[in-house]
Symmetry: C2
Subunit: 194 residues, 2 copies
């Protein structure tokens, strides 16, 4: 998606060879119109898979997943939690997810009643890097007996292998901007539509 | 807002006298259309204050604040973070916020470049209870030299005093559903528009 690639080139910041920081429009301050456009693109890509629910992981996946759920005709959106508040007393599907940027392992969880065998789940996240979050979310869907109809990421870092790991599980993966390398402050893309 | 009060009566769950759990439509699974309606109501209430930015706290404030920012003409939305990822290396405005439901204190933060003296900030959150999160967010705005033009909560628990604490700071507070008591599983509202 050219709009997103151009924005990453303009406002993204490289940290080493592994991290692109997009805090000014996607991860801390949000460009509302851009995020709505990302949601509409996910809806275009995945509507034929007939999802009936969108799943994401708190926190930075939420706005993009909300925009996608809205564009898909106001589907319910479930966000997996990284910690169990005292109000979350019911049984939950869980998965352990490592964050490479935070250096921590979180147990992500969705309460049983919000995922089930009748669900066709579209997973949406902001980044696809090593695939840890995606695989964790996929485990929640599978543990619930639901079907994952696709995984959509706003930004993929192709060289970190997450796309391949998810495809090996039989999941259709669509990323709106695919970064192939980050080197000396230069971000290279695999641009299908340029 | 009658729509929200009715939904809380129908799908909210009381825990003791302090907590109303709204996980099925606002806090874990999200009713996308309802949340857009909440955003539109906040826009109607606050548009004359001419905010140029919306501020919230991760994670469950994000979808409602996104909907409000969208309805206010695609304003930028900043969400304060509860932990500093390794990518957040710049200076930040910070405040300590106690969560009564989680029993923890978090240091919330917004990087310096996303709040400044030219900003007219509308703060949006899902709940207004004791006012801890609201006061913390207000401190970030004030530390940045920005102006807070209002605070909007989807659900207020009036008996926990947060509304009064924010008003004492000179802030206009608007809550879309105002709960006055939770007792024996019965939720009572202060319904302005019923």
């Amino acid at each position: 998606m050219k709009l997103l690639e151009e924005r990453i080139q303009k406002d993204g910041t490289c940290i080493g060879t592994e991290i692109v920081k997009v805090d000014s429009f996607l991860n801390h301050q949000l460009d509302t119109a851009l995020i709505r456009a990302l949601g509409e693109e996910f809806a275009r890509l995945f509507k034929d898979e007939q999802p009936n629910k969108v799943l994401t992981l708190e926190a930075s996946g939420i706005p993009i997943a909300f925009a996608a759920a809205q564009a898909l005709g106001d589907l319910p959106l479930v966000f997996a939690k990284k910690a169990a508040p005292s109000t979350m007393t019911e049984d939950a599907y869980t998965a352990d997810v490592m964050s490479f940027t935070k250096g921590t392992v979180s147990t992500i969880r969705v309460a049983h009643q919000y995922l089930g065998p009748s669900d066709r789940v579209l997973i949406i996240d902001d980044f696809l890097a090593h695939g840890e979050a995606g695989l964790g979310l996929l485990k929640l869907v599978e543990d619930a007996g639901a079907k994952c109809v696709g995984f959509g990421a706003a930004i993929e870092k192709e060289h970190q292998g997450g796309h391949k790991r998810l495809e090996e599980k039989g999941i259709r993966v669509e990323s709106l901007a695919v970064i192939t390398s980050i080197k000396d402050g230069v971000i290279s893309f695999n641009s299908k539509d340029l």
